[in-house]
């Protein structure tokens, strides 16, 4: 199985390492070559420097044979466009897009894009934790 990960920050690099340990062939793309250090000293996969919406670069990274594409750059809109291109131009079966803004996340999820929204997860998690605290005098409705 081959995965293409665009954006090698905290999230992208961690997924890359995890998938690689699970036996995936992983190609990582980031616009900054320093990001490679996040993958440790012995990264066995490929690492390409460039813009994630550059079609030539995506081809070079093997998007045409990729089973999965993960868009995890620090730009919501960049991730959305990468997701659209991976889905519609390259027909990648599994495309996952990170979108921090819950409003845009909801809109694109409703259009059929697989979205992970860390902000929404944080909001829900925090709210849930607050509810589970027994704060005197505050009635919670779970």
């Amino acid at each position: 199985m081959k995965a293409l990960i665009i954006g090698c920050g905290r999230v992208g690099s961690s997924i890359a390492l995890q998938l690689q340990r699970e036996g995936w062939e992983v190609v990582v793309v980031d616009e900054n070559e320093d990001a490679l250090t996040r993958l440790g000293d012995h990264w066995p996969g490929a690492f390409l420097v460039g813009q994630g919406i550059d079609t030539d670069l995506l081809r070079e990274a093997g998007i045409e044979e990729a089973d999965a594409v993960i868009a995890a750059t620090d730009g919501d809109n960049t991730n959305i466009v990468i997701g659209e291109v991976a889905q519609k131009r390259f027909d990648v079966k599994c495309v996952v897009v990170r979108v921090l803004d819950p409003a845009r996340a909801e809109f694109y999820a409703a259009r059929g894009m697989r979205i992970v929204c860390p902000t929404k997860t944080a909001i829900d998690g925090l709210a849930e934790t607050i509810r589970s605290c027994a704060v005197p005098g505050v009635r919670t409705t779970a």
Binding site: I53, N77, T78, I80, E84, K88, D101, A103, R104
Partner: protein
């Protein structure tokens, strides 16, 4: 007409200014604080500060009305694509126009059905091509929606098509000759039209068939 302009750089601010002068209602959206402060002096309540890809910013600018036109003119192509998608699909804006900053992203705009688009680099290149005489095939018009283009070629003495009737030419599939200009007179090209050296011929074709067309008309 109500127009929302996203992006208050040179392009966006000038477009907004021109629209206001024509008497239209305009809301300009600019994210950067320094730019916004300058724009506010001139545009006052008609400029709003915020990220035009955020739904609440768009809604504050009246996207829900919706505007008659939304112009995505920021310096970031991904932002412009998302602004157009939100304007059209979420708010039902009847018309969007997008600026393409990097011509390599044109294909993405096309893929997402965002049209019309304006790209300064492509426009300049088209004009240059029109001026450079070595280019034997000149792009006159791109009909993006139809996926067709109109080109002009000049037939010269060595052209294989000189002295032949249009119906005898093996034109590539998906192409037609439109007209022939000779001695300042244009005529619609029909099957019996004879091509001659010096003719300026207009052709309509699917983009990508240029080389085939060039081979039939110009090269032996």
């Amino acid at each position: 007409m109500y127009v929302v302009v996203a992006g208050g750089g040179k392009v966006g601010a000038n477009v907004a200014r021109s629209l206001l002068r024509l008497g239209h209602e305009v809301t300009l959206i600019e994210q950067r604080r320094d730019r916004f402060d300058r724009l506010e002096d001139e545009f006052e309540h008609q400029v709003q500060r915020g990220d035009a890809t955020e739904l609440f910013v768009l809604e504050r600018a009246g996207l829900a009305r919706p505007p008659d036109i939304v112009l995505a003119l920021t310096g970031d192509d991904e932002d412009n694509m998302v602004i157009c998608q939100l304007a059209k699909e979420k708010y039902g804006a009847p018309k969007v126009i997008a600026r393409v900053n990097d011509p390599r992203n044109q294909a993405h705009f096309d893929l997402l059905g965002i049209s019309p688009t304006v790209c300064a680099t492509s426009s300049i290149m088209a004009l240059v091509e029109h001026e450079v005489p070595e280019h034997d095939l000149i792009h006159l018009l791109e009909l993006r929606k139809e996926n067709l283009e109109i080109v002009e070629v000049q037939i010269d003495r060595d052209s294989p098509s000189a002295g032949k009737r249009v119906e005898t030419l093996e034109l590539p599939e998906g192409s037609r000759l439109i007209s022939v200009m000779r001695n300042g007179q244009a005529e619609i090209a029909v099957g019996s039209t004879m091509l001659e050296a010096g003719d300026q011929v207009l052709a309509i074709l699917e983009p990508g068939k240029e080389d085939e067309l060039r081979r039939v008309l110009l090269r032996t």
